[in-house]
Symmetry: C2
């Protein structure tokens, strides 16, 4: 199901292929985020043309809107949103922590109020799998407990313990029920433990015992210092199984991706390229720019002459500046497409460099230009 | 420059071709509105794929943003917005009336304050042509005086007189200066006169004397009763030259288009298909629907099975309902594309019916289904 085609000669980076029910995902891979069954501003055709074939959506949000009844009527999210690529769904643990003002965790699950209308809901590990069966996710995530960076040690210990118990129940439930539609669905546990090596080790080892098909690192990019994040990923590189895909949740910047690829991470998701695009921030080979800046008012150069995406070549900085100034939706679309092409180029070029045994020098050159 | 290929056997409807510097426009034609150098939510590729090759933009708005200096740097709006079809620009007379809280008309032009920052500006007829030369409009409109429907008779008389004087100055200025770039630019006078047949006749006759290449009907759809609008168009059908394109400004609904095509109108523009799309209103062969309505929540039928546009066929009502409910920009895009395809189908099918000598029965069937 996961094949490593090439390992880097000098880092833990690797190039692989993950088979899913909706196509083969080349790793390292970045997943664009389609929280509400749509990648913000874009159509699924555009996502395909940007060479993405795995997108992330969110169980918590889809459960609230459109709801599982609708998704089941369509035989799952793929048909509903007109997308024939693969889908990974985040379980909602993080959303329940970050969006809900009220949540109560007991051994059996978590009670929370919807951030939309305050209505009460209760998720058990089994219920979360059931919802993801209705969604038809190619890759499900277990229900986890995801404390903020500044949570107490006791909270982190409890989070690890509960996350392990719930992971067991999720895997066992999916094992019993099988997939809902006529294609495979796999499920990934999530390693918690904050920034403590001891807790991360405990969490990882307990979950590795479950012999899942892939593993995720959760509970990072939740407010901890960047060096702590990198330190945890580096530490886990020595513990997580080498022969299974590793997914680092919610990370990150272009620098983060390169650093974490070198530490053996295979999959990423992050709102940065899409959310920042809608604020006018563009990622280019020479670093970030904000297209709202007045200096671009008359700049007739392409958005990024080093990006061979047609969007980045065909539109000028002056026109995109104008679209942002007049708040035209087309501007948000162009910026989003450009940023997602930058991110896809980044992971694709990293893979090429690993294949050619020059990942370190490639990444050095990339970062020199980018931070110039 | 304008050829009538077929005239209806029983109404004043006709099928024609208008040559412009950026392609041949088949009439009757509907123009999507791109006020700020973009058709709201859509790319120019999408406009092209919807079979439009003439769009409307606005002199007043483009003058304020991005400004003529930028447009000149790009050798005009076509390059700036990446559009190789034709462009008609409204002159701004209507915008100065409707957006500016302050404006002062004298014999020489109009002083107004920007609706954006309150800054003072002064447009003369010559200046308006000069701005449209910088824009590189294929079809310019003269600076006119466009009073609201409830203006006094004196205001309407004055508006007609001033509009005629300014039209003369606009045409003469363009005649002297010629086009700015290496392609032809033509200019259309605008018939005013409110709902008075006497004033409309006076305005039309004075402007016809100028022997312009096309003529527009302005000052309608500004608050007058629908039957007055139709009555003015019908009246002018008997006065306006048959061998020149006739453009009815700011109109209208699908019914308006059919009625006015039957009275010899060749060109239309209106915000209805695009603006209403963003509010969830969709035009279908069976009438208007609002996709926000809860009854579409689980409706897995295509947006409009009678519209062969791929957008209308590929997306379901339930998914579009969901996108509106979650305020996803993709929803506004899909609705806009659908509505513009409906409008283009409408004028294209009207043309086919005229060609086949069955315009009246076609329009009766269309309206029966539409109003069902």
């Amino acid at each position: 199901m996961f094949i490593i085609n090439k390992s880097c000669c000098s880092t833990s980076a690797r190039v692989g292929e993950l088979q899913t029910a909706h196509g083969t995902i080349k790793t390292p891979a970045f997943m664009p985020i389609g929280t509400y069954a749509a990648i913000k501003t874009l159509s699924t055709d555009e996502i395909k043309n940007l060479n993405y074939n795995l997108v992330l959506s969110n169980t918590y949000h889809l459960y609230l809107r459109p709801g599982t009844e609708i998704l089941e009527k369509f035989n799952g999210l793929h048909n509903f949103m007109n997308w024939d690529g693969a889908i990974l769904t985040d379980s909602g643990g993080y959303q329940i922590y970050s969006l809900s003002e009220f949540r109560k965790i007991d051994e059996n699950g978590v009670e929370f109020r919807s951030h939309l209308d305050g209505s009460k809901h209760y998720f058990t590990p089994e219920r979360i799998v059931e919802i993801q069966r209705s969604i038809g996710s190619d890759i499900m995530m277990v229900l986890d407990v995801c404390p903020p960076a500044n949570a107490s040690k006791e909270e982190h210990i409890k989070a690890v313990q509960t996350t392990t118990e719930w992971a067991k129940r999720c895997l066992s439930y999916l094992e019993t029920k099988g997939p809902k539609y006529n294609f495979d669905q796999i499920i990934s546990p999530i390693i918690q433990g904050g920034t403590s090596e001891k807790l991360r080790k405990m969490s990882a080892e307990q979950l590795i015992d479950l012999d899942a098909k892939m593993y995720a690192i959760g509970g990072l990019a939740v407010g901890e210092p960047k060096e702590d994040m990198l330190s945890v990923v580096n530490y886990l590189d020595g513990i997580m199984p080498k022969n299974k895909p590793r997914y680092l949740m919610g990370v990150g910047t272009p620098e983060d991706l390169i650093n974490c690829i070198s530490m053996g991470v295979d999959m990423f998701d992050c709102v940065i390229p899409t959310r920042n695009a809608r604020n006018g921030q563009l990622f280019t080979s020479n670093g970030k720019i904000n297209i709202r800046n007045a200096k671009f008012r008359a700049d007739d150069s392409p958005i990024d002459s080093n990006n061979d995406n047609i969007i980045s070549q065909n539109y000028t900085k002056a026109y995109l500046h104008h679209l942002f100034r007049t708040e035209e939706i087309l501007g948000y679309r162009i910026a989003t497409q450009h940023n997602l092409s930058f991110y896809n180029n980044l992971v694709t070029n990293a893979a090429k460099a690993i294949q050619k045994n020059n990942f370190l020098s490639w990444s050095k050159t990339f970062l020199n230009n980018y931070n110039n």
